[in-house]
């Protein structure tokens, strides 16, 4: 079975102006979103108390909010967790003055009490409510995680850049890194747009998106290198376009297969991995599109050419001296 016409020669690079302008606009929009709207940071990052509650029968988020309000719980964030029977309730911690150690101790003890009072308020309204879990995170831990996450992302990008520089060439490393930044920002932008909760698993997913999307780009780059080496007269634009076309079937099939598994995780894996799966799905779409429409135009602008890619042995003076 084949879905793609193997003789297709879609002039992807012909549209490079449009495609890169769109990419740039998306990126700028994402940055703007991140600055204005920001990410809806989860408990892992903000600190606070969260209580996960399960009901025997379906429950309305509005009813939960009302029940909490009546129970005197201030400013709760109530979210539905996949399906209508599980809800997550988050409360921001109030600042505690005084000795840090004493404050930390009392804050965590208070977390237990708050969780108990939340449950009491809910049970009053709906006796079928049961507590699944509750957690408390101090805000200091969250700040640390944020910086750790950024460091990990930067480390990944630099590591990949260095590898591509060595295995391919400088231009490939730069093109991959730029596209990588684009993919990460746009993925974060979408998460910010829909205000999905950004927790640790989503952070893990964003880092995995970097890995996935670089995978996609490397496959195209590999073909570009191969075609440059094989062809006698290498017109960069034509080579790049041919590379995208020949790998197109693989690019889309792999995305589809990975997408299938992530969809399975989203629909059947339960609320704990929702954020992970949806972020990965967004990342797969963004990464696939940028492999086709963004990475190669950047490569072309950077001036990739046949002579940069010939195997190192050609530079061997021993060989050059021979007739």
């Amino acid at each position: 079975m084949e879905i793609f016409n193997h003789n297709s020669n879609v002039p992807f690079l012909h549209w490079r102006k449009i495609s890169t302008v769109i990419a740039a606009v998306l990126m700028i929009a994402s940055i703007a979103l991140l600055f204005t709207r920001g990410l809806n940071y989860g408990l892992d990052f903000t600190g606070g108390i969260s209580v996960e509650v399960k009901y025997e029968r379906a429950v309305d988020v509005g009813d939960v909010r009302r029940a909490l309000d009546e129970g005197g719980i201030e400013n709760p964030v109530v979210q539905s967790l996949g399906g209508s029977r599980q809800v997550l309730i988050r409360l921001q911690p109030k600042k505690v003055e005084g000795d840090a150690a004493a404050a930390g101790e009392s804050a965590s003890t208070r977390a237990d009490k708050v969780a108990a009072s939340v449950m009491a308020a809910l049970k009053k309204d709906r006796p079928d409510a049961t507590e699944n879990s509750h957690s408390f995170v101090s805000p200091q831990v969250g700040d640390e995680l944020k910086s750790d996450g950024s460091i990990a992302a930067i480390f990944v990008m630099i590591g990949i850049g260095v590898y591509l520089w060595i295995r391919f060439e400088r231009r490939f490393a730069i093109a991959a890194l730029l596209t990588e930044v684009h993919d990460t920002l746009v993925t974060l932008g979408v998460i910010s747009l829909v205000q999905r909760e950004f927790d640790l698993t989503v952070l893990a997913s964003v880092l995995a998106v970097i890995g996935y999307s670089i995978n996609d780009k490397v496959v195209v780059f590999d073909r570009i290198r191969e075609l440059f080496r094989l062809s006698r007269k290498a017109e960069p634009e034509e080579i790049l376009n041919r590379s995208i076309n020949t790998t197109l079937s693989r690019t889309i099939i792999t995305s589809l297969f990975t997408g299938i598994t992530m969809a399975a995780l989203y629909f059947f894996g339960g609320p704990q991995v929702h954020g992970f799966a949806i972020t990965m799905l967004i990342g797969i779409v963004v990464g696939t599109l940028s492999s086709i429409f963004v990475a190669s135009p950047i490569l072309l602008w950077l001036g990739v050419s046949k002579k940069d890619l010939m195997p190192q042995t050609k530079d061997n003076p021993e060989l050059a001296r021979r007739p």
Binding site: G104, V141, G149, F155, L200, G211, Y212, A264, F268
Partner: protein, 626 residues
């Protein structure tokens, strides 16, 4: 002719076999159980087993297994509710001499366990329990050290008859101790004295004004770093001691970074109980001894309950012998600066070196001067608060454990430094050193994060995770078979084995399976198929270019390999970064991804190549089903 060497077939077969064997234990789900351990030297034999069996039968608690396994007794139960009830019953029946812990008993057959094939331990999110992240207050360490050195220097200067105007800690933490002397000569004498006695201190002269000759003494940064590390190690050790007393089986107590400790207690549902133990207060007291452990007077006192008015009756840890100890306290634990185990050069027996602070040293010197030849005991007092619900209110009941951890004869006059010799084994020496040092926490800690996961939620997560893995796998298998026909089926077999080998490797390394880990497995399966897509697309291309089927297979694998390698190495870099992220969920995910990438490279390329060669190897082919 097949171009696939025979040794590679053997390798593939061997790896697949290993994969199946080491993944197999995960097919045996553990059962809820209660584990009984003897403490205070109590026996654990058939009579105890009978007692437990009787108690369970009397309370109508059904159990599916009850046996003594080495130094502990294990009882299996059909579900977690029965298990919790049984634990209470057993606790009540056996009393304080036994710790009763909730546990998950492995049902893996003995022959698998004999070759170290075990199932993956489950994370708290899959099992239920409490998770704490403790933050150690490193500032307190600096405070304590600077105060101690200030004391020591004060004593040193007095001893050397060097007069000083003032000696204070700098107002800023970590800036050391400021000493102001009266003359340049005094200052250089002080500098020399401090430098000789305390090589860990850095002494700097500051510009002098008039008759003030200041000196700044700081603790060397490397010493501070060493102290910080020692502090967190000691806190971890103390926590471990305390949690073992709590009766939680296989607790996770791990140091994380420079100032955090992760504590995970599976099966514990009441964080308040765990918190009380973690925050317990323990103190050490050096006291004058009366007699020796097990001597007639002590035995008599223990039998009749007639304890002399100036003494307390304690039991010695380990031997459980009664011993009388004077009520007079010589030195307390906070005056103890350091304790380290070693071997005594003269007698060749294990010893513990103890260092006291300046104030402690003076008291010890006074006491030993008058009491050579008499015994001295170390009493360990630990207070744990039990939380009980009485009339609907939480009541904290202090529960104090007091015991003698060491009893020795004073051999001579000593002060600041002394050693306890004549210990039976190096292990005993290191345990005593740890107890002396670790009896109390080296620095205060607070709980930075805490989560409680209900047991039903764990079960729920396992079911959902398993469903997601199987469904994701099934759909990809189906899609690959439809799209790539025979080659797709071969890739399917490889993908299935990828799951098996991935689980096997994770089990062998002992990676804890968590929900993010399951997400990692699903993602790995989705991406592992990429290598096969690359290969199949290449083979199709070669066929279109007019190559023969055999040549197409060979060229397809060869050309795809370079791409697969580059793609996977870059992906591996990303996974590696994830594993370095200190925090739990991300790390679990990263480790799974890392192992998955490595196993997928083997199964997607080598295993499929072997199977393809086996199918097409020696036949003449006109077409390929790809």
């Amino acid at each position: 002719m097949s171009d696939f060497p025979r040794w590679k077939y053997a390798l593939v077969a061997l790896v697949l076999l290993f994969g199946i064997i080491y993944a197999l234990p995960n097919a045996f789900p553990p059962v809820p159980s209660v584990q009984v351990l003897a403490t205070h030297g109590a026996p654990l034999d058939a009579s105890v087993k009978q007692k437990v069996a009787d108690a369970l039968t009397a309370q109508k608690v059904a159990y599916s297994g009850l046996e003594i396994d080495g130094d502990h007794l294990v009882a299996d139960f059909p579900n977690a509710d029965v298990q919790a009830k049984a634990a209470d019953v057993v606790k009540a029946a056996l009393g304080d001499d036994y710790t009763v812990a909730l546990n998950l008993a492995s049902t893996v057959p003995g022959w698998l366990r004999a070759i170290h094939a075990n199932s993956m331990p489950l994370g708290l999110d899959l099992q239920g329990g409490v998770h704490f992240l403790m933050a150690v207050d490193q500032n307190a360490v600096v405070d304590k050290q600077e105060e101690r050195y200030a004391d020591d220097i004060r004593a040193l200067l007095r001893e050397k008859n060097i007069r000083y105007e003032s000696l204070t800690r700098s107002s800023q933490r970590g800036q050391g101790i400021n000493v102001v002397l009266r003359s340049a000569a005094d200052r250089s004498a002080a500098t020399d004295a401090i430098a000789i006695d305390y090589p860990d201190l850095l002494v700097q002269e500051r510009s002098s004004t008039g008759d003030r000759f200041p000196l700044n003494v700081t603790v060397k940064p490397e010493k501070l770093r060493e102290l910080a590390l020692a502090t967190i190690r000691q806190n971890t050790a103390t926590l471990r001691n305390r949690i073992n007393a709590l009766g939680v089986s296989e607790p996770v107590i791990q140091q994380q970074g420079e100032d955090q400790i992760v504590v995970e207690l599976a099966g514990v549902q009441n964080p308040a109980e765990a918190k009380k133990v973690i925050g317990a207060i323990a103190t050490l007291e050096y006291r004058a001894g009366i007699g020796y452990p097990g001597d007639p007077r002590a035995v008599e006192a223990a039998r009749t309950g007639n304890v002399p008015p100036d003494a307390n009756l304690y039991y010695e840890r380990g031997s459980n012998l009664p011993v009388l100890v004077s009520k007079r306290i010589i030195v307390t634990g906070d005056e103890l600066a350091d304790a380290a185990s070693g071997i005594d050069q003269q007698s060749g027996t294990p010893k513990v070196d103890v260092t006291l602070s300046a104030s402690g040293a003076k008291k010890m010197l006074d006491f030993t001067s008058a009491n050579v030849g008499k015994p001295m005991a170390v009493v360990y007092v630990e207070t744990v608060y039990d939380t009980k619900i009485v009339d609907g209110k939480e009541v904290h009941i202090p529960h104090t454990t007091q015991e003698v951890i060491s009893d020795a004869t004073i051999q001579g006059v000593f002060g600041k430094q002394f050693q306890t010799t004549g210990l039976n084994s190096p292990k005993e020496a290191s345990e005593l050193a740890l107890l002396l040092k670790g009896g109390s926490l080296a620095a205060p800690m607070n709980i930075a994060s805490q989560s409680v996961i209900g047991p039903s939620m764990g079960q729920d997560n396992i079911e959902k995770g398993l469903r997601a893995v199987l469904l994701g796998l099934g759909l990809v298998l189906l899609a690959a078979a439809i799209y790539y026909h025979l080659f797709g089926l071969v890739a399917d077999i490889a993908l299935f084995f990828n799951l098996v080998i991935l689980v096997a490797v994770m089990s062998m390394i002992g990676v804890t399976l968590t929900m993010p880990g399951i997400a990692g497995i699903v993602l790995t399966l989705g991406m592992a198929i990429d290598a096969n897509v690359l290969i199949c697309e290449r083979v199709r291309e070669e066929l279109r270019n007019g190559s023969s089927p055999h040549a197409s297979i060979r060229a397809g694998y060869e050309k795809a390999w370079a791409t697969i390698l580059d793609a996977n190495v870059t992906h591996l870099i990303a996974a590696l970064a994830l594993t370095t992220m200190g925090s739990g969920p991300i790390k679990g995910f990263g480790v799974t991804l890392l192992i998955g990438i490595l196993t997928s490279m083997f199964t997607s390329v080598t295993v499929t190549h072997a199977i393809t060669a086996l199918i097409h190897g020696n036949r003449k082919l006109k077409t390929l089903s790809v």
